[in-house]
Amino acid sequence: MALIRRAGRSLSMLKRSSLFHGKQKKQRQQPIVSPSLPNLTPHLPSSLIRLQINTTYSAIPRGISSCSFRSSYIPNRLLTSEAQPKLPDEGIDDTQFLDFPGVKNTAFTCDLKFVSEKSEEVPCYRVLSELGEPVDGAKLPQMADALALRIYENMITLQVMDYLFYEAQRQGRFSFYMTCSGEEAAIVASAAALSNEDVIFAQYREQGALMWRGFDLQEFAHQCYSNSADYGKGRQMPIHYGSKKHNFVTISSPIATQLSHAVGAAYSLKMDRKDACAVTYFGDGATSEGDFHAAMNFAAVMEAPVLFICRNNGWAISTPITDQYRSDGVATKSRAYGMRSICVDGNDALAVYSAVKSARSMAISESRPILIEVLTYRVSHHSTSDDSTKYRSGEELSHWKVMRDPVVRFRRWLEGNGWWNRQKDTELQSHSRKKIIAAMMNAESMKKPPLSDLFTDVYDSIPTNLKEQESYVREAVAKNPNLYPSDVPL
């Protein structure tokens, strides 16, 4: 039995065209409705339902007089003098007509069938094998040697920085650090595919992206040491970097709050018609937060050019994936929000680069959000406050650390192309090490932020109540000099 489906342009396409131009909305078509008919959908704005009618019907089912929805469709028939196209003769039942406002493209069925909890398989895109060789049939992205070498150098510097800063924290030089071991390719290669105008809203493990943008090793050290040269003026914990000139928004500790910020930034970029998108990174654990679902939904509804890059590394501190969500991965979730997605092998730098680059151009040209699930593994502990051997086996850890190192994989590809060799590698490592140690020594020797920075920037200018509080503190410090370190400026 033929089932009537609604045809015609979907409302969202109409809406998008007027939204994209951001101008005054053109007048909606006047509804062709006889005023004497009852309104069966008073809870909906009248323009909505009428517009659907005007664009979707070219055929009226026979037997309409017995249909309970007659009031919405008779007007169309009354006003046209042309014969309606004949319907197929397979016994159209007027009650099969599905026009509930909640769904767009579906039909009735009389089979009592539930939708399975298992989703359609989402394949994982990769182009390099574990040994760094192109996979059969893979189309490698266009990547010049200069770019490839820059990506590799960034990854190595990142690894060395992570290692040294972690050790520094263990030595008590600063209180906290998070490394991104095992995820270097995911972060650096994805950042390499972006432009410098794209605004990054990171979670906390994406220092590689900031490094790619040009954040100096010295600047990293200043932030971790919370000294007076820190752009954050010593107000945030280590690794909570932020740099307006690098378009990297200051990291905020609560998980997934940056997702809605990214949607807002994308909305702002769209209003300004900039050739840029908003990019936000988050982990698998963040997909449980309410903010994730709402931000995804919003981005899809607003048609905002956001890239949601999920570093699915298998662990959220000690919570494994099986306790975090029941869907099969994160990429499959996007369908629920009407969003496009892709699942990528995050340890394959080329695949990540390629996927993010093409997602970015799609996001900007089509003004749509894209979810990119980057599968990887968290070799590091969650942070310096965590000992992951407590909840995962040493074998699993060493397997991923030794056998599945993304940097080594990329290096093999570089060596295969003749762009890199062992000697250059050792040189790079020792050079980075020297630079980082020098940066750390320099940062350590710098003064801490002055007392005056405690009260500035709470508002655009200091109000009197804060001035009062500041004078109170200064009085206390003046009276009890032993309370305040002598080498910290006031």
Binding site: K15, S18, L19, G22, K23, Q24, K25, P45, V199, F201, D230, Y231, G232, K233, R235, Q236, H240, G242, S243, K244, V249, T250, S252, S253, P254, T257, Q258, L259, S260, H261, A262, V263, G264, A265, Y267, S268, L269, K270, M271, D272, A278, G290, D291, H293, A294, A295, N297, F298, V301, M302, T456, D457, V458, Y459, D460, S461, P463, T464, N465, K467
Partner: protein
């Protein structure tokens, strides 16, 4: 004569306008704030009135904006009061246009949106529906769907979205359908909105306005009768203002939009249909200032939002009983305008706070502490505070009325305090 004139004004339902416009200054450092021509005219007009002495004050001395804090310049006592004359001059008395409070908010919004293309409104049903209290009615047709953005129902997310947009150059106004729903946005407001300017070292500013109707309405139930000012007052980095009349609603809306800080503008559900005549000229009020509603000698009554109108009702009774209360609408809930309040306390030596917040941890509680700390020597009596009880607002009409401070209670409290 003076008291009857004042009484007439109160009965007319037209609140005195605090602070003539010439003395208004924008809180932010932006130099493009319009200076108002109305100011000088109203000052002159006021000074011609018989029976009312008016002195101008140097309002910029409060020190929030670009002007430095200078306490020695503040010798005068009263703020000037722009008063409508009902004696004689009919021409000047009928200037301006009359409108309801929600229309005043809309006027302020429209003017700012016309002036600055980065201003936009984000909220539920703000677009073609015009907002659930019709504040944004007709604006979507004028400014487009992108500037009057209808969002799905996720307060935390659209507040976060506004924060992200603000960091990248827009000036969004977040409309909560009811202030109580903004509790869902508390994470974004407390952890990000108030903080990111500070933690980023001043690199990212968040010039957003969060507004919505709150307060106890007419039998809306407990969840729709929230008073969020008490929950938000602790969050550093936020500014809070409460409007109570169409005049200050429009002025505060404009000031909030122009401010570089995140501002929460508290409106009241029951005040949306308040009618008043407001000036035709453009004016912007100062976010950190209080409004002198009625000058007096006997006692200082501090109030804000809907309670201002309850206080004014009580004042009618008090005046007939021979009291002369000074009524100040504090308007700025964070930070308090301790300058205006202090001047008043120094004059009357007694304070009564009338608020709609819950007793525990409300605005009144903080204000009491601040006054006690700063003006203890000026007080002849303990600071009185009338507030709602620590109960969820009941639905039943008589019960709900009992949770809100009523004028007879205010009269009684004033009488008690004045015995000191």
């Amino acid at each position: 004569m003076e008291s009857t004139a004042l009484l007439q004004k109160v009965t007319a339902g037209m609140a005195f306008r605090g602070t003539p416009a010439s003395l208004l200054s924008s809180s932010s450092a932006s130099s493009h704030v319009a200076r108002i021509k109305l100011g000088s005219r109203s000052v002159i007009r006021v000074s011609r009135l018989s029976g009312l002495t008016v002195k101008a004050t140097h309002l910029n001395a409060y020190g929030f904006g670009t002007m430095p804090h200078n306490s020695t310049a503040l010798k005068t006592v009263n703020k000037a009061v722009a008063v409508k004359t009902e004696t004689g001059s009919t021409a000047t008395a009928q200037q301006g246009h009359e409108l309801l409070l929600f229309e005043a908010l809309r006027e302020g919004l429209e003017e700012e949106m016309e002036r600055d293309p980065t201003v936009c409104v984000i909220g539920e049903d703000v677009g073609h529906y015009g907002g659930s209290y019709k504040v944004t009615k007709g604006m979507a047709e004028k400014f487009g769907d992108l500037r009057l953005l209808d969002t799905p129902i996720a307060e935390n997310s659209f507040t976060g979205m506004a924060i992200g947009a603000a960091m990248t150059g827009l000036r969004p106004i977040v409309e909560g359908m009811n202030m109580g729903f903004l509790l869902l946005a508390f994470n974004q407001i407390a952890n990000n909105c108030g903080m990111l300017h500070y933690t980023s070292g001043g690199q990212f500013t968040i010039p957003i306005v969060i507004r919505g109707p709150g307060g106890v309405g007419k039998q809306l139930g407990a969840e729709h009768s929230q008073r969020l000012e008490s929950y938000f007052q602790s969050v550093p980095g936020l500014q809070m203002v409460a409007c109570s009349t169409p005049y200050n609603a429009k002025g505060l809306m404009k000031a909030a939009i122009r401010s570089e800080n995140p501002v929460i503008l508290f409106e009241h559900v029951l005040l949306y249909n308040l009618k008043e005549r407001i000036p035709d000229e453009e004016y912007v009020l100062c976010l950190e200032e209080a409004e002198l509603v009625r000058p007096g000698q006997d006692i200082t009554i501090l109030t804000y939002s809907r309670m201002r109108h309850h206080v004014l009702q009580a004042v009618k009774t008090l005046v007939s009983k021979g009291y002369d209360p000074e009524v100040i609408d504090i308007r700025s809930l964070k930070p308090f305008d301790l300058f205006a309040i202090g001047n008043s306390v120094k004059k009357t030596h007694k304070v009564l706070i009338v608020e709609e917040c819950m007793r525990t941890g409300g605005i009144g509680a903080s204000l009491r502490a601040a006054i006690m700390e700063n003006f203890f020597d000026e007080l002849d009596a303990p600071i009185g505070c009338l507030s709602s009880q620590d109960v969820p607002t009941p639905y039943a009409g008589p019960l709900e009325d009992l949770t809100v401070v009523q004028p007879p209670q205010i009269v009684f409290a004033v009488e008690q305090l004045c015995k000191h």
